[in-house]
Symmetry: C2
Subunit: 356 residues, 2 copies
DNA sequence: GTTTAACTGTAAAACGTTTAACAGCTGCCG
DNA sequence: CGGCAGCTGTTAAACGTTTTACAGTTAAAC
């Protein structure tokens, strides 16, 4: 067995043709006679030849790689994104290089920098803050890129794919209000992150719209375990809200952990709306009512956008905004009359008159 | 802003040196005078130069990439593996190309094939069955590779990193027996997968060792949702076991879903041991007792092995076997007297005499 | 029967690096 | 003061592809 790897040249001599012909057989750029083609393929098989992507890329300038940068490879939301992107990229002949910024801006820059060394055809990035990384700003316009999730939707530098986070927060709070919950706590990861802020704004707006008290946001961080402690501490120092809305899947975990530790039952003592929708949320005695982000659609939209750009589309940058939806399950209990603007103003109006 | 990317040559002319010098500044292969170096670095910065990995790799033959192949990017076990590998690879200057075989042997071969096109420095693979993929067999010896998890530990073709799955199954069942559970069901994903078979063998052996009935294995597949239905159906046709041992994190989900649907309480009606250990398993009113795989160690061992091989180590292939451990929490209830060989034989011997 | 066009195949020049070989310059030893 | 070693920098030749320009062959068109 050969130590070294077969090259075009070796295949060519073995098949008795020029290297250009072999190249044509593999790239399909020019047609080649059927039996020559057969001979080449046979030779290639015998040598178990595989085209060298580095050489190919160097010469052609085309890369067939996309870089995918996410803040955290332990967060299911991001890995499910990657999972779907990998399938689509693969389908279209691209390989995926993953990089994690681990939520550090510095690491993010450095990972992006090395990603660029690949001269990738495109980049899909979930920035770790809502500031677009400097490197991407610099590359905007010459490198196809799509920004996902942690981003202001009308960022002028690149295409974006996000959900309507304001609406997501509002939907959740309206549901809680409908079920009669007036004291709402929000479990946020970090207030510095745009989608989180938007979800909070949406939640707050929905509450005000009905004249309910502003929800109170608790910042618990992006780690489930530590977040659990933080939220548990918060529960210790504050009156128990009637409902909690978790703003990410990790904060959902944090809330659940804190509630379990303090033996506060869901939904008997407190109602809960989870964020994102993963199997573990339904596989419980009390399946969690959740705000589902359409991960498939997000990934799909990001990939389609990137493909367009990679195909040369140079139109102005385009924001895609998708919609989260409420999965109504069992973790929100009916706590009293529906809270409507009327009922909260007039205190005892019949809430049944107001339909959604 | 320049359309094209800066090259070594441009940096060289701008800094007034030869391209070789610039190369030396970046690779550090040969020392270069301090102020020249400064000039080069300045020029590079101004052009925002970044070395082209394709060119570099083509010329040097060194790749600085490792391929990572897993069966499923939606399975937390694999993504947490990837997460850790990415950190270590990055630390050592390697980039990671991920590929998912989606549990299909054909896709696996094709993904590996394209991975090879990168001429990677090494490959870490979790095969989708316990048969080593043909391509890897062919490459064994010339391409550094480490096989993880789904693999027979003494596979002679490559280094392996696994846990002692037999032991893992045994530990779990012994715990169940200690707690007085005699009818044990095993929720397996696929019987065709080596680690699963080993876990079952271990579980069975532990039961026999104490003269208890053989656990019965239920094959529920690798998808949580469908698995839940399968297991629920099984529950419908069979007497309720006293305890269930799930053999993967996904089957844990399946079991939980089925139990929830049938309103069977854990641990009141049935005890449960989960496999793997993820935040959602503890964030419940009844935190799950679990068999924890040491993911950090697995990833660490795989990477260290690969580094060794990439550094040229050509010693015979080496199996690393790590150990799972029982995380005792609340999902296993005491069901009766401890089941020991004596008690099961003599039916009424005092189990309290037998200590662990 | 010559000209054109269409088709297939080939030779050779890139692509942006790394690196072996070499050249110039010090300073030091004999 | 010649020669030699030790630095530091440069020249130029790879690396394995893709691709342009061109050559040869055959078929169609006039």
């Amino acid at each position: 067995m050969n130590r070294k790897r077969a090259t075009l040249k070796e295949v060519a001599t073995r098949a008795g043709v020029s290297i250009a012909t072999v190249s044509n057989v593999f790239s399909g750029r020019k047609p080649v006679n059927a039996d020559l083609k057969a001979k080449v393929e046979k030779a290639a098989r015998e040598l178990s030849y595989q085209v060298d992507r580095a050489a190919s890329q160097l010469r052609s300038g085309r890369a067939q790689v996309v870089g995918v940068l996410v803040p955290d490879l332990d967060d299911t939301f991001f890995t499910s994104l990657i999972s779907r992107l990998e399938v689509m990229a693969r389908r279209d002949g691209f390989d995926v290089i993953v990089a994690s910024s681990r939520d550090e801006r510095e690491l993010e820059e450095s990972r992006l920098q090395t990603l660029l060394g690949w001269r990738p055809s495109g980049i899909i990035a979930v920035p770790c803050s809502d500031k677009v990384p400097a490197i991407l700003k610099r590359e905007a316009g010459r490198l196809p890129m799509v920004l996902v999730d942690r981003v202001i939707a009308d960022s002028p530098v690149a295409d974006t794919v996000t959900i309507d986070n304001f609406e997501a927060g509002a939907i959740a709070v309206r549901h809680l209000l409908d079920m009669g919950h007036a004291e709402i706590a929000l479990a946020a990861s970090h207030l510095g992150i745009a989608p989180i802020r938007d979800r909070i704004r949406g939640a707050t707006a929905a509450a005000r719209e009905r004249g309910a008290r502003d929800p109170v946001a608790v910042e618990v961080g992006a780690n489930a375990e530590r977040g659990g402690e933080v939220f548990s501490d918060w529960l210790g120092c504050n009156p128990l809200p009637s409902a909690v809305l978790a703003l990410t899947n990790v904060t959902t975990l944090a809330v659940l952990a804190a509630l379990a530790r303090r033996r506060i039952d869901v939904p008997e003592k407190v109602s809960l709306i989870a964020f994102d929708d993963y199997p573990w949320m339904s596989a419980r005695k009390t399946p969690l009512t959740a705000i589902r982000q359409p991960v498939d659609e997000i990934a799909g939209a990001a990939w389609e956008r990137l493909k367009l750009r990679m195909a040369g589309d140079a139109s102005p940058s385009h924001p895609t905004i998708l919609h989260a939806s409420l999965q109504d399950r069992a973790s929100v209990r009916r706590a009293g009359p529906r809270i409507t603007a009327a009922s909260s103003k007039e205190a005892a109006a019949d809430p049944a008159l107001d339909t959604t």
